[in-house]
């Protein structure tokens, strides 16, 4: 995970009963992308963060926030 970045993607995806593959299809990215973002291995671009937030129906600040 990037230092100081809190990521709630896994929780929000689970709340909506979506698999990684299902969310990936909704966003139009690979399952690998969703997996790496969830695991904190990869910090997404602004565009991808916005797409993820839109697919989950929440503001991007709910999905990603700073740990301060």
């Amino acid at each position: 995970m990037a230092e100081g970045l809190v990521n709630r993607l896994r929780d929000l995806r689970a709340e909506r009963d979506l698999t990684q593959a299902a969310l990936a299809e909704l966003v139009g990215v690979s399952r690998k992308t969703v997996n790496t973002v969830e695991n904190g291995v990869f910090v997404p671009s602004v565009a991808l963060a916005l797409k993820l937030a839109r697919a989950l129906g929440c503001p991007v600040e709910t999905l990603f926030s700073l740990d301060d």
Partner: protein, 147 residues
């Protein structure tokens, strides 16, 4: 938007590529004794050099080129996602540092032994390419790992 079938195909291609890259690097490294074996294997030096250069060029293209060719734009975009592009950049960086380490090694060795220019280039290319391929494969494998 890509279909489920395109997603599955892209996933398969990505996994295959992640397995292939380190395997190709291992094969490339394993072939080096043939290049450096002097007077033991009756193959002309020019042929050995040409074969090695062709092999290195193929590997370089495999590393640099987008995956998912001939499978359509949607599959290609999925195979070449943000994560893959970032992993490739990190692999290039690993190749650069491997090249620098090899250069330092060659400078060190040249104090004790006379190393030819072609041999130096061969070593730099071999270790930097192998490092980049292995790094890319490992990063892609890690990205595919669940949890």
């Amino acid at each position: 938007m890509p279909t489920s079938a395109e997603h599955e195909l892209a996933d398969r291609l990505t996994r295959r590529r992640a397995r292939m890259m380190p395997a190709l690097a291992a094969l490339f490294l394993a072939g080096q004794p043939f290049y450096f074996a002097r007077n033991q294997i009756a193959i002309d030096t020019q042929i050995k050099t040409a074969v090695w250069l062709a092999w290195a060029a193929i590997l370089l293209l495999a590393l640099a080129m987008d995956g998912g060719h001939f499978r359509g734009r949607a599959v290609r975009d999925l195979v070449e996602d943000e994560v893959t592009r970032a992993n490739r950049l990190r692999a290039y960086a690993a190749g650069f540092w491997a090249a620098m380490a090899t250069v330092f090694g060659i400078y060190g060795l040249s104090v004790f032994d006379n190393i030819q220019g072609r041999e130096s280039l061969h070593l730099i290319m071999t270790f930097s390419l192998a490092a980049a391929l292995i790094t890319f494969g490992m990063l892609e494998k890690r990205a595919l790992r669940d949890g």
